[in-house]
Amino acid sequence: MKDVLIALNKIKELGVIDDYAIGGAVAAAFYIEAVNTEDVDVFLFLSPSQNSLLLSLTPIYDALQRLGGVIDREYVVFGDWPVQILPAYKPLVEAAIQHAERVKYDDVESKVFSPEYLCAIALDTARMKDFYRVASFIEQKKVDRKILDELIDEYQLGEKTLKVLNWNEP
């Protein structure tokens, strides 16, 4: 994982990307009990391109490959970690990157989504495992319910909360 973060910081320093933050299960593990996941989700700001989205990711894949990553289908693999590059595809994700928390992994600086944005994005994605993730944050008391409620209102996620088993727990 250290190699992943070093490579991401390098491509940010080189200006290949504007900013990034880790989301998904790897980010959630920063706060709550870890669960199995196949990859690390890296969300990033992409400069507007006149070409297709696929073409605009090419410089990122190329840069990561030059830094030691191995391209495998849609992933760039560093050691044990396949990296999935995910452009900020909606305002909620853009806001999550902007509000990401600065963290360290073995003295390497990085950014992860906050618990509230992880929960909001999970509700928006709305798979069974996403509702389970929100329930885990609530059960382990690692999410600010007030901030999360504000995000739910702002991004109209209210109906999705009905599928979180412990949503009404304090």
Binding site: A29, F30, A34, V35, N36, V103, Y105
Partner: protein
Amino acid sequence: MKATNQQLDFVRQAKANYREVARAKTWEEKIDSIVRMRKASKIAKQAMLLLPRHTKS
């Protein structure tokens, strides 16, 4: 054979202890544990493929 209450309590306590340890880990330790979980899951899936399949007679 049904489990006794004592056996169930033992399992509940073991699960609670495991969770307490798992949640107290650093991010680095949790990342390492994810890698182990993934490898174990892969081995388990491969073992499942070797099990004889049930077919209707």
